[in-house]
């Protein structure tokens, strides 16, 4: 590929306060998304810290049970709607135009509107603590949600409607940008896999988020206007809410994981210096996951009294979804196999993702079977499963992507040593926190309880200790990121020797991304092919930074 000449003066036009404005530049919006979602990650993480402190002892001694209910409800809502979903949108915004050689997204103003719905939505949600936060769990099942704290519940609904709107607007943008704005020579099968993943994610958002909006509107009427759409007291049916809610909230799992599956497909070939194994299989499996993801929702409702044939149908579709996911995992393992792996921080997080997500995926197949699910429903086994999927999958993926694209976003190189320390602490903390929860669930400890039987205390103490490790692990991360952004050595334009188009421009990219239209001379993953020796060897740490700043 022809690399445009390295120009360092371009990014000087970008000043720090541009990140606090209604900017329509997709790169600014991407970083705004990412920093905002990380702030909410720390808020949600602090809530989790209080939850685990409470659960360190069997008695309810740190917070009252009512406050405990509020804590886990807001924790889940923040982590899903303000951390992982916006973080996926962050990388989508930052990377899609760069990867397809476009100057910006299709609708830059709409893009800025989509981002600026998130901070008010998040602040609105947090403000519910002032009037009594929602206590009905993030699922907010009626009639429970109609009985516990009206103002908090209504704030929760409004906040979710805002965040959902933001998500839909973002998805329209991703779809149209990928569909229409690729450089002329990039056909759909030479597109980076991250773009495939974002197509699948956006399709899911467009098809499922509106149904949640519909359910929330009806729930708001039940709550505030006294209708009884879901209230059995007035002839309504709470199961209808569960169907509508899970029609969004199961695909939401794929909305949260698919962008990072895509990011992983970018990261592994670069750091293993090998072409991706099974490009089309990985690309199409994203689409199959997003189709199957729409027809598995009732596996959350096996104990809600749904008819037997429906349980059977959803059990079978849920188990089938393991097939495309397995195809992806084998594709990644095939990419690693025999590669020249260099254990940089993004690669470590990427490999951590594969192993941790595998555990979450396997427990997912276990709870897909109706008899087993009836035993472990609403126990800590489910908590363990969902955290292995969302923390072990999405969060490790966010870290991998953050480290991988950090030099491109900021123009600086992060500190490799502290990155690896961060990975070690996170990975140990993750397994220490969530592995014992499997056992707790099988022993019969229910989820969403502030007090529990004293026999469960040892395992709970282990979980709480793991959470402490996770809390500690954020310090090297934050310090590393902030310090490197301000003072780190200047990164080379292509520090990893990547072949996708975002590495062909300067770091950070100029205002309109490319000084001249980039030209594809190879596929996105042609490492070690076509006799290009430079593509096969990984750049040494010294080559990753600009010559001038390396001397300092």
């Amino acid at each position: 590929m022809t690399a445009p000449t390295a120009t360092a003066h371009h990014h000087e036009e970008r000043l720090w306060w541009h990140f606090f404005t209604f900017s329509t530049d997709h790169k600014v919006i991407g970083i705004q998304y990412l920093v905002t979602s990380f702030l909410f990650y720390f808020i949600g993480g602090s809530l989790a810290g209080v939850i685990r402190t409470e659960l360190a002892t069997p008695a309810s001694d740190v917070v009252s049970p009512e406050l405990y209910n509020q804590l886990f409800t807001v924790h889940a809502t923040v982590m899903i709607f303000l951390w992982i979903v916006p973080a996926g949108a962050a990388f989508g915004n930052y990377l899609i135009p760069l990867m397809i050689g476009a100057k910006d997204m299709a609708f830059p103003v709409l893009n800025a509107i989509a981002f600026w719905l998130i901070p008010p939505g998040g602040i609105l949600l947090m403000s519910s603590f002032l009037v009594g936060a929602p206590q009905a769990g993030w699922t907010s099942y009626p009639p429970l949600s109609l009985l516990t704290g009206k103002p908090g519940e209504f704030i929760w609904i409004l906040s979710l409607l805002m965040l959902g709107t933001s998500s839909i607007l973002g998805a329209i943008n991703f779809m149209v940008t990928i569909w229409k704005m690729r450089i002329p020579r990039m056909d759909i099968h030479s597109m980076p896999l991250f773009c495939w993943a974002m197509i699948a994610t956006s399709a899911l958002i467009l098809l499922s988020t509106p149904v949640l909006a519909g359910a929330l509107i009806l729930l708001a009427f039940d709550l505030m206007a006294g209708t009884s759409f879901f209230n059995p007291a007035g002839g309504g049916d709470p199961i209808v809410y569960q169907h509508m809610f899970w029609f969004y909230s199961h695909p939401a799992v794929y909305i949260m994981i698919l962008p990072f599956f895509g990011a992983l497909s970018e990261i592994l070939p670069v750091h293993a210096r090998k072409p991706i194994f099974g490009y089309r299989a990985i690309a199409y499996s994203s689409l199959i996951i997003s189709f199957l993801g729409l027809i598995v929702w009732a596996h959350h409702m096996f104990t809600s009294g749904v008819p037997g044939w429906l349980r059977m149908f959803f059990m079978i579709t849920t188990m089938i979804i393991a097939v495309p996911t397995g195809i992806k995992i084998f594709g990644w393992l095939g990419t690693l196999w025999g590669g020249k792996i260099s254990f940089t921080t993004p690669m470590l997080f990427g490999m951590g993702l594969i192993s941790a997500f595998l555990i979450g995926g396997l427990t997912g197949v276990m709870v897909a079977s109706v008899p087993f699910d009836i035993h472990v429903h609403d126990t800590y086994f489910i908590v363990a499963h969902l955290h292995y999927v969302l923390f072990g999958g999405s969060v490790l993926g966010i870290f991998a992507a953050t480290y991988h694209w950090f030099p491109k976003m900021t123009g600086r190189m992060y500190n490799e040593f502290w990155g690896r320390v961060h990975f070690a602490l996170t990975f140990i903390g993750l397994n220490l926190t969530f592995m014992p929860m499997h056992e707790l669930g099988l022993l019969g400890m229910n989820r969403r309880v502030a007090m529990y039987d004293p026999q469960f205390q040892n395992l709970n103490l282990l979980c709480s200790f793991g959470t402490l490790l996770l809390a500690i692990s954020t310090f090297p991360f934050v310090i590393n990121m902030v310090w490197s952004w301000l003072k780190g050595p200047q990164a080379a334009n292509n520090p990893w020797g990547g072949l996708t188009l975002e590495w062909q421009t300067s770091s950070p990219p100029s205002i309109e991304n490319f000084d001249e239209l980039p030209v594809m001379t190879s596929g996105p993953y042609d490492y070690g092919l076509g006799g290009k020796k430079a593509d096969f060897s990984f750049l040494k740490p010294k080559q990753r930074v600009m010559a001038a700043s390396a001397e300092k």
Partner: protein, 276 residues
């Protein structure tokens, strides 16, 4: 056979497409299409909620919530036919006929306003309120949500009319990539589509899973044809014992697992519980 042709054309096109790429492409119609997918899903979700609730309720419609069919029927027909009227307006734009544009779009706006007026009239004259029954709640929320969309569509039409007040507007509309009339028209036709489907959902008594006309006769039929085994017959005893064992297994299993009274090794327990 095809590849040489394809290659040559794509090479030739690069320069022209490169030139086009330097300007920001106008993709608002594509965005509108994706937006309507999302909007349709809200309506489909609400319809599904309505139909499922309807199939669960024993008596439909609840007493005191009968809707009349004539006025909503006329209203629906007006809204749907306004889409065709609007299509004439779009044709007028292509022919660069400004008077035609103003006439047909004005007529569409008028028909939309009549529809909204009819809806307001209906709201004022229905014998039930929002919380009278679950049917009434669905009626107001769904028609209200649809009316909101029609209102937005009407505002867009009025904006097109406002832009057409200066001479030469039709020309600029038809030559630019961005076509407000077709944007508006898409939304308008979509409103008509969902209006008619709601009308059908609400009034059509046949063809939906309705307990009084579909499900119960079927169940009655099946029950009348099924031989229920006598209490002391061998087949009854086998089934009863099997049922009893299954229930016992599940009950013992779940309670033991939940309270932690079983062996700590859950796999052992799982296997041993099969003995019951």
């Amino acid at each position: 056979m095809q590849s040489p042709t394809l290659n040559s054309t794509s090479t030739l096109n690069i320069s022209s497409e490169t030139a086009a790429h330097s300007e920001h492409p106008d993709l608002r119609m594509t965005g509108m299409a994706f937006f309507l997918v999302a909007e349709s899903m809200i309506f489909l979700g609400l319809f599904a909620a309505f139909l499922i609730t309807r199939s669960m309720v024993a008596v439909w419609q609840p007493e005191g919530s009968e809707v009349e069919i004539l006025l909503p029927g006329i209203n629906t027909i007006i809204l749907i036919s306004s889409s065709f009227v609007m299509n004439r307006g779009a044709t007028a734009i292509k022919k660069n006929d400004e008077a035609g544009l103003r006439f047909w779009f004005g007529l569409t706006a008028l028909m939309g306003a009549i529809f909204l007026g009819g809806q307001a009239y209906e709201y004022l004259h229905t014998p039930f309120g929002l919380t009278t029954s679950i049917f009434a709640s669905f009626f107001y929320v769904l028609t209200g949500f649809h009316g909101l969309h029609v209102t937005f569509g009407l505002m867009l039409i009025l904006m097109v009319l406002w832009r057409s007040r200066k001479p030469g507007t039709t020309l600029s509309i038809s030559t630019s990539e961005w076509k407000p009339p077709s944007f508006t028209g898409t939304l308008w036709m979509w409103c008509g589509l969902f209006c008619s489907s709601w009308f059908i959902c609400c009034n059509c008594k046949v063809g939906v899973a309705h307990p009084s006309n579909l499900r119960s006769p079927n169940i009655d039929y099946i029950l009348s044809k099924t031989e229920i085994p006598k209490r002391d017959s061998p087949s009854f005893r086998v089934r009863a014992v099997r049922l009893h064992n299954t229930r016992r297994e599940v009950l013992i299993g779940s309670s033991a697992l939940r309270t932690g009274h079983c062996s700590r090794n859950w796999l052992n327990f799982w296997l041993s519980s099969k003995r019951y």
